[in-house]
């Protein structure tokens, strides 16, 4: 299952998007039980596409909270697809797609 | 007034680690043993246990293992005080809790 949860609702031609991404967002400053530093591990880039067109994109630092939350809005309509994907500093990626309600 | 005074006595005891001064002249090892036994005893007789007591006993043991008899004695004595304060708390609170119930 994707690590990304999307809620996308259209109202008066505007699509409100809320999205939660399951990710530890390790800052590189935390230590584990044995006192060893946990290496930084975080989502760097997030891209949102609707019907194949980029409608929003952003870049994160490690100062974004664990399980990052992101909300934005764009012009669109019900039934359009919305795909959100992320890439972290290890090169790992994930994506999820939903239909706008 | 009796409850009030008891409560006062307990708080005074909690506030001062030197309030209970038993075990002078004993070795650190003996004091640690006494504190451990006392802790277990209070835990058995009441549901009261303080996290700091175990910690202090451990620190005393560590000091003793490190060859610091004086420090170990001091810490073991502190642990004994904590055990005694726990015992007192359990005793006083077995009645005093009723005062906090709203009517």
């Amino acid at each position: 299952m994707s690590s990304i949860r999307i809620k996308a609702k259209e109202r008066k031609g505007e699509v409100d998007v809320k999205c939660l991404m399951k990710h530890d967002m390790e800052t590189g400053l935390r230590k584990d039980k044995s006192g060893k530093k946990i290496p930084e591990h975080w989502i760097q880039d997030v891209t949102a596409e609707s019907n194949g067109k980029v409608v929003f994109s952003c870049a994160f630092n490690t100062s974004i909270s664990k399980d990052p939350y992101l909300a934005f809005a764009f012009s669109g309509k019900k039934g359009d697809t919305l795909k959100i994907s992320w890439k972290d500093n290890t090169g790992a990626t994930d994506s999820a797609e939903t239909q706008i309600k | 007034m009796k409850h009030g005074l008891k409560s006062l006595a307990l708080v005074a005891l909690l506030g001062s680690s030197a309030a209970f001064a038993g075990g002078h002249g004993k070795s650190a090892a003996a004091l640690i043993e006494e504190a451990t036994a006392g802790y277990k005893q209070v835990s058995k007789e009441t549901s009261y246990q303080w996290t700091v007591t175990v910690k202090t006993i451990k620190e005393a043991q560590k000091a003793l293992d490190g060859g610091n008899e004086a420090e170990a004695k001091k810490l073991a004595q502190q642990a004994l005080d904590l055990v005694e304060a726990t015992r007192q708390q359990a005793q006083v609170e077995s009645q005093n809790w009723k005062m906090r119930v709203p009517k």
Partner: protein, 279 residues
Amino acid sequence: MKKIIRNVAFGLVGLSVSAASVAGPEEDRQAFRKFYENRFPQVQPIGDFQNGVYSILPQAREQWEAIEEFPPYELAIEEGEKIFNKTFANGKSLKDCFGEDGAVREQYPHWNKERGMVMTMELAINECLEANGEKPLKYKKGAMAAVSAYMSYNSRGQSINVEIPSDDPRALAAYEDGKEHFYTKRGQLNFACADCHMHTSGMNYRSETVSPAFGHATNWPVYRAKWQEMGTLHRRFAGCHNNIRANPFKAQGEEYRNLEYFISYMSNGLEFNGPAARK
């Protein structure tokens, strides 16, 4: 010195009323509720106490509402749903114990007469697992908190309606045990649950405003920012005990089950609204 004076003062107040006859649970509950109604008249409607400290702190409430827009516990609800629907080795599942959607929150905690003990939802979940040859879950977090979150979510809107059956004196004894626990000072810091969450509720300990105990039982499990994960009510009990430097009791042991029985009874009539986000 201040502490001593306060303590003595508590003592005197206590004495002046201790001559009153021993009240039953229902009188206790009314006095308890009245205490919070008088202390926080701004909390309207009274059901808002289910939101804990946010019912009395508007500034914190705004942040909490921003978190609730897409709360991190939603991930736990999904995880819980999977566990809930998972087929056991014997072909059954948690559904066989708790129904299709597990919306049984209002049935817990309750007095189990046959066994002479308080049953909680988390205990019932593990007993269901074990009765079907599955491994029990750890009580404080992880999978247990997730299943509990899923079942609580499906039970939202149900009301707390804890009963203390009068035909079994052991039920009253369990209630009284939880009550004594709530009002008893413990730990090196010498605090009772009631000291913080009743008599100084709404006041600050360092930067922290203490939440009212009325409504404490409604919203579990929670995603706590401090933990950065989910945790159950008994995990929070243990955390509080650690804070006052008292040894915590075992999660789902008799002490905490009786305490849950008492504080749930005190919040009778409020809605279950778990899971929730907390700081």
